[in-house]
């Protein structure tokens, strides 16, 4: 069966520097795969190659079995992407932002659908008609997550999704991601939050210097052991 996401010997060179070097992995349907790594490990670059924003220097990335380079539009149509900075428009309200981006995606939604998504991310109702420039980082992040939800795509790419969220919101977000995966959505998230990754992911990959240097899976329905991953992470970082 074709994996929704697959990286085959993915290499990426930017401005003469090797950002990714022979990275290979697959993410199965309904699976949550977290890529852990320090700054500059190549986590975000990996996500951007799946979106076609960066062109692999070697190897290839496949979305639903199709090369992204061959059909970028098909790849982007299948993916909802949550960028690290929750980049939305400060001069628009949450409703206006969602309405706008969904229109561009060709998936317009009514106010009820927007409210349902914003309810799921727990964005206060009174804030929804305020411009985003008055939002906290967490509130912006919630709006961006709502956008990803509303896209209803089979694949979610999350770049440091819990950055800026308070602990309660992080737990809620993790529950949400698990629910989405439970519904069949495939999730690839990149983070440097070891604890969060282990809490939510079915599989964790360790990325260092552009190489995938370790992989941990949950067994028997249990979560991945945070301490094991943390130790490996620290060891690899120190190496």
């Amino acid at each position: 069966m074709t994996s929704p996401l697959e990286a085959k010997s993915l290499s990426l060179v930017r401005e003469g520097n090797a950002v990714l070097d022979g990275v290979s992995f697959t993410v199965a349907r309904g699976e949550i795969f977290a890529l852990l790594g320090g700054n500059g490990a190549g986590k975000s670059s990996t996500l951007l190659t799946f979106l076609g924003f960066l062109k692999p220097s070697g190897g290839e990335v496949l979305v639903n079995g199709q090369s992204v380079t061959g059909d970028v539009a098909a790849a982007r149509g299948a993916i909802a992407y949550l960028p690290e900075a929750a980049s939305l428009y400060g001069h628009m309200t949450a409703y206006e932002n969602l309405d706008y981006f969904l229109d561009l995606a060709g998936k317009p939604a009514g106010r009820a659908d927007l409210d349902a998504a914003l309810d799921r991310v727990a964005l206060p109702a009174e804030a929804r008609t305020r411009r985003l420039r008055s939002y906290s980082k967490g509130m912006r992040q919630k709006t961006a997550i709502a956008l990803a939800l509303l896209r209803e795509t089979p694949i979610l790419l999350l770049d440091e999704p819990t950055s800026g969220l308070d602990p309660v919101a992080i737990d809620e977000f993790h529950d949400l991601v698990k629910a989405l995966a439970g519904g069949g959505q495939t999730v690839l998230m990149v983070t440097h939050d070891v604890y969060g990754a282990c809490q939510v992911a079915d599989r964790v990959g360790l990325l260092r210097g552009g190489k995938l240097v370790g992989s941990f899976s949950a067994a028997n329905g249990e979560r991945i052991d945070t301490e094991t991953v943390h130790a490996a992470f620290a060891e690899r970082q120190a190496a």
């Binding site: 951007l48 979106l51 924003f53 960066l54 539009a73 982007r76 149509g77 993916i79 909802a80 992407y81 960028p83 900075a85 980049s87 939305l88 428009y89 001069h91 628009m92 206006e96 706008y100 981006f101 969904l102 229109d103 561009l104 995606a105 060709g106 961006a144 956008l147 896209r151």
Partner: protein, 478 residues
């Protein structure tokens, strides 16, 4: 709603929520409105005034009493060039070429400038015309509005979100272009109003709306240049700096350089300089006031032979009138040859200047604008030729009256006493030889033909800049 329209609408929402942008647009809009009203008023007044002055000059000429016909040759007449209807938008060369000429015998005078009725005009503020605003200020407004169209998305990270929605970069660029296009369309409204007003003043619809079309293409070309910079460059400040430099280069530096370069390439002496050069040759032609000038000996022999008489006193016509007509014709040939050469050189300079439109769309639009409005150098040259034909026509007609209606002996004795002076006159009805002169712009087709090259250059600018935007947008990266 299509994504292109949606992007354009959101861009407008951003602009409308930005006080700086709204203020800049309002300032330019007010400036255009005020300048259009003032210029339209000024030109309409000037047009009415010059037509009135032309009629008054004719009436004054016709109203002269019985006189010696040669006194009427020197009494002279005036030719006025009324501004064409589209001068309400584009006064063109009017301010530097002069608009009226004093016509008299033996001279081709330099065109004069209308007297100013308001001291404030002396400050040069009248130089701010709707055309100059469209040529210089609107591109600046487009730069202010559009320099960050793409870059803002890139810098704020929303470009990634937009592209991740599956929207191609070209559609995003088209949406941004549509937003700028709407701004351009909005600022075309005052020009459309002025063009419509010019039609009520007698302008042809084809010319009026070709002018609108030319400026639309010009502003679209600037919009494409602005968008291209926003797509290609990576920092907002750099984009603004580069575009301001491009504006300075296109709107100020190239035109200045083009003027100097065309003058250097074609050395055209001015009217005064060529008059001085011509003086020596003029002297060889003889003095038309002196019928005994040796320069007219051959003419005398021919005329005596023609009438089969021995002396000029025996001629059935006034020899002095014959000499005056002959001399005027010879002199006019000389004057015309210099005038034509000067105009040919000026036209060459103008053509070279127009070619600099390849480096600056501002030059291309200004050349097209003047040609379509009928306020270009070619129109002024036609005015000079037509007023010269008028001058030559009435001067020669008076010389013929001199030859045919005034007895030679009476003419020769005109200074003997007051009675002799009164006898040396012809009836005032002879002044009706003056033709009515009403200078009108060329037909719309002819003006458009002259503007064709510049309009083509403008279109090339638009296609080139638009092509760059589409290619760059297709390859857009974060």
């Amino acid at each position: 709603m299509s994504s292109v329209r949606r992007i354009a609408r959101e861009e407008w929402r951003l602009w409308l929520r930005s006080k700086v942008v709204v203020a800049a647009a309002l300032i330019v809009a007010v400036l255009i409105a005020v300048t259009s009203i003032l210029t339209a008023n000024r030109i309409a007044n000037e047009q009415a005034q010059r037509v009135e002055q032309q009629v008054a000059a004719e009436q004054t000429f016709f109203a002269q009493p019985d006189r010696h016909p040669h006194r009427m040759v020197h009494y002279g007449h005036y030719a006025f060039r009324p501004p064409p209807p589209l001068a309400v938008f584009e006064p063109g060369v009017d301010a530097v070429t002069g608009q009226s000429i004093f016509l008299e015998g033996h001279r081709q005078n330099t065109a004069m400038f209308a007297d100013t009725k308001a001291a404030a005009d002396l400050g040069g503020f009248a130089a701010l015309t709707p055309a100059s605003l469209y040529q210089l200020f609107l591109p600046l407004l487009l730069i202010v509005l559009g320099h960050a169209l793409f870059l803002r998305e890139r810098e704020s990270g929303t470009l990634a979100v937009i592209l991740a929605q599956g929207l191609p970069g070209t559609k995003l660029a088209l949406g941004k272009a549509a937003a700028l296009l709407a701004v351009i369309a909005m600022f075309m409204l005052p020009l459309i109003a002025v063009a419509a007003y010019s039609v009520t003043l007698g302008e042809r619809m084809l010319a009026a709306f070709s002018l609108v079309g030319g400026y639309f293409v010009y502003l679209c070309a600037w919009g494409a240049i602005v968008l291209a910079a926003s797509v290609l460059l990576t920092q907002r400040a750099v984009s603004l700096g580069v575009l301001i430099f491009v504006w300075l280069f296109a709107a100020l530096i190239v035109p200045r350089f083009a003027i100097n370069a065309s003058s250097a390439a074609v050395d055209a002496p001015g009217k005064i300089e060529s008059d001085l050069i011509m003086l020596a040759e003029q002297r060889k032609l003889g003095d038309g006031h002196n019928a005994a000038d040796p320069a007219f000996m051959q003419l005398q022999a021919e005329v005596l032979e023609q009438y089969d008489v021995e002396t000029i006193e025996e001629l059935p016509i006034n020899w002095r009138g014959v000499v005056a007509a002959y001399s005027e014709a010879e002199l006019t040939d000389l004057l015309n040859s210099y005038a034509e050469e000067r105009m040919r050189l000026e036209a060459s300079q103008s053509r070279i200047f127009g070619l600099f439109g390849l480096l600056s769309p501002t030059i291309a639009v200004s050349s097209a604008s003047r040609a379509i409005a009928g306020t270009d150098l070619a129109t002024h040259h036609r005015f000079l030729r037509e007023s010269e034909a008028l001058r030559f026509g009435f001067v020669q007609a008076l010389n013929e009256k001199h030859a045919a209606e005034l007895d030679y002996a009476i003419d020769m004795n005109r200074n003997a006493d007051e009675a002799a002076r009164l006898r040396a006159r012809v009836n005032a009805s002879a002044w009706q030889v003056l033709d009515e002169f009403r200078f009108a712009p060329d037909g719309a087709d002819e003006r458009l033909g002259r503007a064709g090259g510049s309009l083509g250059i403008l279109l090339a600018w638009l296609l080139a800049a638009g092509g760059i935007v589409l290619v760059a947008a297709r390859r857009v990266r974060l």
